[in-house]
């Protein structure tokens, strides 16, 4: 369960404001560009941010590689890392710590055991963690949501406290449509939608432009706002929500 709803609400309140966010916060995302989708307009306000990428963004060396314009997975991963560096600069984000666990794309779920412990070790240092929702959009996103929830539960059992668990709006499918920037509704966990100021919007746009390799995906995401909420207590034994 989300063991620190008060801290979570305090962070949501801070996100809804305009000032700097001093709380130590981790943003745990699966791929290089997910942090921009999450909060490119807002990241500049985080003063004690730990940014964790679970994958290097390229498929496993053992999987067939077919990314147009790239000759191999390492070249693709390096490009994504460079794009991330540029995007963080473009949106003026200065993470206090920045780590990549270097898992291959689409393998987060397979690593959930070791990943949970490693995340727990890193999340010891923060008061709140923001990650993907469990929404059926991308298998790594769902696995990230699960790993973060498990890590927080592990910390709660071991120490009696865990970081507040929040999530950002990503994308999910409804039938053949892709819905971006919205959560699956959950009355118990209302979303806070931040309407970005003109300068914050420019930061988000500038970050998006840096991910040239992801341009086809990012065009589906609005640059007008960013949404967050306290993470629901998902039942990860069940499939993520689906709607036809």
């Amino acid at each position: 369960m989300n063991s620190s709803p008060d801290k979570g609400q305090a962070l949501l309140d801070a996100l809804a404001g305009n000032g700097p966010i001093m709380t130590p916060v981790a943003l745990v995302v699966a791929h290089q560009d997910d942090e921009a989708i999450a909060a490119a307009g807002t990241l500049v306000r985080f003063r004690a941010l730990t940014l964790i990428h679970l994958t290097d963004g390229a498929t496993s060396p053992s999987a067939p590689f077919s990314q147009p314009g790239f000759s191999n997975r390492d070249e693709y991963a390096q490009t994504r890392a460079r794009e991330l560096d540029r995007a963080l600069q473009a949106c003026l984000a200065v993470p206090q710590r920045q780590i990549c666990y270097q898992l291959p794309d689409q393998t987060v779920g397979e690593a959930i055991g070791t990943l949970t412990k490693r995340l727990a070790a890193d999340l010891l240092a923060v008061d709140a963690v923001i990650t993907h929702p469990y929404e059926g959009g991308h298998m790594d996103h769902d696995a990230a949501a699960r790993a973060v929830a498990l890590a927080c539960a592990l910390l709660a059992r071991a120490t009696g406290r865990a970081p507040a668990r929040l999530e950002f709006a990503g994308y999910h499918r409804i039938g053949n449509d892709v819905r971006t920037g919205e959560f699956w509704p959950d009355p118990a966990c209302p979303a806070v939608k931040i309407t970005l100021s003109p300068s914050a919007r420019r930061r988000r746009e500038a970050a998006f432009e840096c991910f040239t390799s992801q341009r086809d995906n990012l065009r589906y995401f609005s640059t007008l706002g960013e949404s967050f909420r306290i993470a629901p207590d998902y039942d990860f034994t069940q499939a993520p929500p689906t709607r036809s």
Binding site: R97, Q98, I99, L115, K117, A121, D122, L124, A158, T159
Partner: protein, 442 residues
Amino acid sequence: MNDRLFEDTRYDPGLPERRAVTVGAVGSSNPIELANLGISWRDEGVFDRAEQIFRDLIERFPDLVYGWQELGVLCRKMGREEDALALFRHACMVDPGDFLSRRYYATQLLRLGHGDDAKSAIVHPPWTDPDTQSAAMIFSQLIDFVIDHPQTSMNGLVQLFEQDERFLNAHSVAAQIQTALDEARPFSLIRLGDGEGAWLSVNDHDEARFAGLYEANRREILRVWFGSDDLYNDPAFIELAGQFVRILEHTSIIGLPYGDRMNNEYGVFSIRGIPSIANIFRALTVETAPNLMVHYCENDVHLKLHLEGHLQTLLKGTYKIGVISCHADLGWRLMEHYGARVVSQIIVPEEKSFQQVKGISGMSLPHYPIPFYRTIERLRRSAGEAQLWLVAAGFLGKFYCDAIRGAGSVALDIGSVADGWCGRVTRPTLSQIGRYTLGSPA
């Protein structure tokens, strides 16, 4: 500044490779190979073979300084002080512009009680290169320092502390920590080494008299800590460092270098070691000795607290634990291995000189100023979340310990024990790493 002018002769990381190269160098026509072979024998304690090689070197290459210098070092090591003096003097005559020969000669004069001659030997040669001029100035200030504060009087000062009833062994330190925790009393244990000593100021007169010496040492220490000495001209950092001695006034237990360390520094005539270690005792005599609440212990007490099981006892208790270090996995290891109740962890950038050994903390900024002030702010806000904080954060970590004590909790400056727990050999004292390493989280 040419650092090679200040090469410390105690450490020679290239020795194993050099030995390999010099095997069979007897009869070599290369004077460097011959000198290195002799040094190897000398370091092994095989003095007669070393002397034979150095004399051979002098005979074959009388116009090179190496044979004269190294035979002089050998004689000094064997207690033949006057022979050493003559050899160093001859090395200076062979090459009047060789700074190392001058340094050996001046040091030997000082050892034999000729302080003024020692200064004259190092200052008066016609140094033209600015680096050497600066090195000569710094070395002459070291000579002044040793004349003002000879080894015997500094040993006496060390003994004053070590024989004081407030000087505690590791067991008593552990008992004091336990009592502070049980009584919920503010407490801090801070250990001092040569880095901290370099930044301790005794008084304005002393600062002016040894300005060049102290500046050289402080710059060197800054490079070790932060990878550059830019902060030497940073007013905010200078002010912070100036407050360090004030922190010690409130510290519960201060870890001090042991007497042998002082003797080692004087023995090798270390530019950094002598004033930095001596000034710890000089500053504390003025600042803390009158405060009967301050206790002392050896500065390797952190290792003893681990090896004697005291830290384990504390960690296995029910106390809420906070950790500050550059190791992201430290808190988890403590939880897994000891069942410690780690409720807070703050990660700080590693010392730049240890970056390769310690790994990457994931923090690109140097420890000072931004991460430092954020950590201080965080501790002021929430240090009370944990009852016992384990701090491994170098010089700046001492300020964290003070902030934690100020917030009412207990702070222990555990230093390299944190490296050991995470399996990183950052000090010779951690060479038996198996006695320290805890399990990894993944």
